[in-house]
Symmetry: C2
Subunit: 112 residues, 2 copies
DNA sequence: GTTATATGCATAAGTATTTTATGCATATAT
DNA sequence: ATATATGCATAAAATACTTATGCATATAAC
């Protein structure tokens, strides 16, 4: 991701969430979808995405299905059962993180 | 930080925000404050904190004041003028990140 | 009295995740 | 003919963190 340091660590969660909502997606599609949904604010780099997808596949969270469209290769990924459970965990962790960080940042602690 | 991968990248912002609210703090105090404010959920490790404080000082965002209390060393850090501005930037970036990631995670994009 | 816990700072080695820089290939627009 | 879009991939470097130490004083527990 070529934006802020803050996005570090959230790539996996983003991928899983997108696959959870869209049944199956291929790598390039994920980069374009994220860019569109964030109004260009978040750009996933290929150097981060592909190794991440391979890792998720190796961990048994994703299944792959290779197809050819317009003479070009596509690798569709979709969640396994294990992947669906992990998506739920990751989303809960993200919500907890946001809640915690919001609490830290939205108050003036010198008054406490 | 010994918790989630999600916290990666937010340590600097947390430090700056705490110093912004508390005028001056020392390292150990920061670790305890964060632990208390997050009900033990977020634990900043010393291996992450001290190098980060040194870096912020080197960048001119923090000033240091060494004192001795009860025969023990303390290094109080406080924001410089530059540090105060950077705090504002970092907080804005954090809010933007939260907004973006929330949008990505709280919707069902397959319906769009 | 000595052992654990708390206070306080520091650094080095290892790990994980990302950016940056490439590489290859096809299709389409200029 | 050249640039841009589509599509996957990996390797080197940078970054930020965890884990493991090290040193030192004070206090509580046993």
């Amino acid at each position: 991701m070529a934006n802020s340091k803050l996005y570090k660590g959230s790539l996996t969660t983003i991928i899983l969430k997108l696959l959870n909502d869209n049944q199956k997606m291929y790598g390039y599609e994920i980069t374009q979808k994220v860019k569109a949904l964030t109004n260009g604010e978040l750009n996933i780099t290929e150097g981060a995405l592909y190794p991440s997808l391979h890792k998720l596949e190796a961990e048994g969270l994703l299944d792959v299905e290779v197809t050819k469209v317009d003479n070009r290769l596509r690798k569709y990924y979709k969640l396994t059962e294990k992947g669906t459970k992990e998506t739920s965990n990751k989303l809960n962790e993200l919500q907890a993180y946001i809640k915690t960080i919001q609490a830290l940042v939205n108050s003036n602690f010198s008054l406490e």
